[in-house]
């Protein structure tokens, strides 16, 4: 007998990758009753929504209490959201006593209806992952986002996530983020301030590409809203061994598990600091490489579920690299002494140009098709 799948609670939302896999297994001819029952139980655990009265979003805001002006910007961006169905957990990570007092004073100064939804958690020691896990432990939201204290939000950041969650179900939500250069500056009154140096630039991929994200992270942290169930039901946590790349690691592991719903709006600005400390300047390239290796090694050690359409995508990529290999071989031949002695140079150059033109045309076509996903 074919198992019955009750999808009434899922409305019209899209299933996660894990759910798609479970449903595919349940539809398999000859699946045993024992396996079927177990799969249905897992399915229910993933899809049941016991969180109806929770706020939509918990915003985890990491700070080290070193720069109070950026955190004032960050809190104003949150207070001005058009959708106020969220709470804020500020995770004060290793602040000095003065820094911690400064953060508390900034929070105390907020308008009452906003201040009442802001909590501070103090965390000592550990890597950048530790405050995130501490924040998740106290988060009440149905989704969880991470917004660091030196970035900016547009007024519809929460609203757009909220709207997308109606379609996205238990998938990750990914919006678009612009980048903007800024540099520290001393403001009148001896205040440690900064100035923007560029108009925001939309440099990240507009839509999520799972395969390309395995290569590099195209999505700053605040682009994301993670469904609560990832942490409470599926047991994910941020890897506290990682010094950096903790965001990329979580994005990859969770997107491979539950899939991604794109949010078609640019809702945040990631500041790139000139002449100021950031994770890029504080940590050495060696640490970045080690962290990246650990992220990939963990994925290599695990079984992953790729989203639908990935097989064709991978075949296109492999075809592209095959063509590139042919081209490189040809370039080697063209560059060899024996070949140059054997044929008139102009003939060879013409051929190379024709082949390279064909390659570039092919590559551009594929890249365009990948980007349009």
């Amino acid at each position: 007998m074919e198992p019955t799948i009750d999808t009434s609670a899922e409305r019209d939302s899209k299933p996660s990758s894990g759910l798609t896999l479970i449903d595919a297994l349940l539809q398999q001819q000859g699946v045993s009753q024992r396996v079927s029952d177990s799969l249905l139980a897992i399915r229910a655990a993933i899809t049941d929504d016991p969180d109806g009265d929770r706020p939509f979003l918990t915003v985890l805001l990491r700070t080290q209490g070193r720069r109070l002006e950026p955190i004032k910007d960050a809190l104003l961006c949150l207070a001005a959201q058009t959708d106020q169905d969220f709470e804020v957990v500020i995770i004060d990570h290793d602040s000095t006593p003065d820094g911690a007092a400064g953060v508390r004073a900034v929070v105390d100064s907020q308008p009452p209806s906003f201040r009442d939804r802001v909590r501070i958690v103090e965390v000592r020691g550990g890597t950048r992952s530790r405050p995130l896990n501490a924040g998740i432990a106290v988060a009440n939201g149905r989704f969880i986002s991470v917004f660091d204290d030196d970035d900016l939000l547009f007024a519809d950041w929460v609203e757009r996530f909220h709207q997308a969650s109606e379609q996205g179900g238990t998938r990750l939500l990914r919006a678009q983020t612009a980048t903007q250069r800024a540099r520290p500056e001393q403001w009148v009154g001896d205040i440690a301030g900064y100035r923007a140096l560029s108009w925001p630039r939309a440099e990240y991929a507009k839509t999520f590409d799972q395969i390309d994200h395995l290569r590099v992270n195209h999505s700053p942290f605040m682009s994301w809203a993670f469904p609560r169930g990832l942490f409470t039901e599926l047991g994910l946590s941020f890897d506290e061994v990682l010094d950096v790349c903790e965001d990329w690691d979580m994005i990859l592991r969770s997107s491979l598990l539950v899939g991604v719903e794109d949010v078609p709006a640019l809702t945040s600005i990631y500041r790139r600091w000139d002449g100021a400390a950031s994770s890029y300047t504080v940590h050495s390239s060696d640490i970045w490489q080690k962290s990246e290796k650990r992220v990939i090694d963990r994925l290599d050690d695990s079984v992953i579920v790729l989203p639908q359409g990935s097989v064709s995508h991978i075949r296109e990529l492999l075809a592209m690299y095959e063509r590139r290999g042919e081209l490189e071989q040809l370039e080697l031949v063209l560059g060899s002494r024996s070949y140059r002695l054997g044929l008139p140079l102009r003939v060879a150059q013409n051929r190379w140009i024709r082949v390279r033109g064909t390659f570039l045309h092919h590559r551009n076509r594929i890249v365009a098709s990948i980007r349009s996903r």
């Binding site: 004032k72 104003l76 900016l152 108009w199 630039r201 640019l266």
Partner: protein, 296 residues
């Protein structure tokens, strides 16, 4: 002696919820500035240019409660006609007698220390100061040591009432929607005062970007900014720029710009264009279509 303040906002068909949230932020900021002794008595004055009042009575009482709790007074005036940005502020200003006036967009949300920072800045030779807008910081340049700048944005700027009255407030006969703040700033500077940027006074101004990080202006924004560009150049004695703009508008043939040319020509014929100022260009800046040097 602490100075009194009126926060002025002009409505036209806004969302009441956003106005209530902005008013709560204003009240909170004023409460902190009062506690610091930076300001004394304060009033939130809202002028409504919408055909029908934006607020139902309950939303109005919600704002009044927040303002009263912060030690302020609340005034709401339904003008029943669209006076424009500057016209609305000019109509509101005589209704109170405060030392300072904060011109604030109705949907702009100030930070907790914004009113205090601006009030600290508007002192001595400084008669006008604007805050730093989030999430899109205005690109006009400023002196990092003194804050001096070409003009202050009307989205959130504080001015001395005495100077506001002395220079005649906003020129709403000439500028309906745009550049009334540029013009006001330049007249303040022509009167010998300084206009400065106060970056620590933050204000959230709800602007959005497209997926390509562009802004798509409405047709009204395009028209009124183009009209303001011509009138501003005329008012600050830059006939060369007026000629260039009008020539390009005529050549472009776009209906919106042709309307601008027509509006200018009608005013010229009727003799209602403003009297040109600043013939030596001592304050007015026309730089690549902007009214200040831009950082980016």
């Amino acid at each position: 002696m602490t100075r009194s303040l009126t926060v002025q906002s002009i409505l036209y068909g806004n969302e009441p919820e956003a106005i209530v949230r902005a008013a709560e932020a204003t009240a909170n900021s004023a409460r902190i500035a009062r506690a610091d002794g930076t300001i004394g008595q304060w009033t939130l004055a809202i002028g409504d240019c919408s055909p029908e009042p934006v607020f139902a009575a309950d939303a109005r009482s919600e704002i009044e409660a927040a303002v009263t709790a912060a030690g302020g007074a609340f005034r709401y005036e339904h003008f029943g006609e669209n006076l424009g940005h500057g016209g609305g502020h000019n109509r509101l200003a005589p209704l109170t007698e405060s030392d300072l006036i904060l011109i604030l967009n109705p949907d702009a949300q100030v930070g907790p220390d914004t009113i205090g920072r601006l009030a600290e800045t508007v002192t001595g030779t400084v008669a006008l100061a604007d805050g730093r807008q989030l999430p899109l910081e205005h690109p006009k340049d400023y002196d990092p040591k003194t804050g001096d700048e070409s003009w202050a944005s009307g989205a959130c700027s504080m001015t001395l009432r005495s100077v506001f009255e002395a220079v005649g407030g906003f020129d709403h006969d000439t500028f309906f929607m745009y550049c009334d703040d540029v013009d006001y700033s330049w007249r303040v500077r022509l009167a010998g005062h300084r206009v400065v940027f106060a970056p620590s006074a933050r204000v959230f101004h709800d602007k959005r970007l497209t997926a390509d990080a562009d802004i798509i202006p409405t047709s009204a924004e395009i028209y009124y900014s183009a009209e303001a560009a011509v009138f501003l150049a005329h008012k600050y004695s830059r006939d060369d720029i007026v000629t260039t703009i009008l020539r390009s508008f005529r050549a472009g043939g776009d209906e919106v710009y042709v309307r601008v040319v027509k509006a200018y020509e009608e005013r010229l014929a009727a003799g209602t264009l403003p009297t040109p100022l600043d013939p030596t260009g001592s304050v007015a800046q026309f730089v690549n279509g902007n009214y200040a040097v831009h950082r980016y």
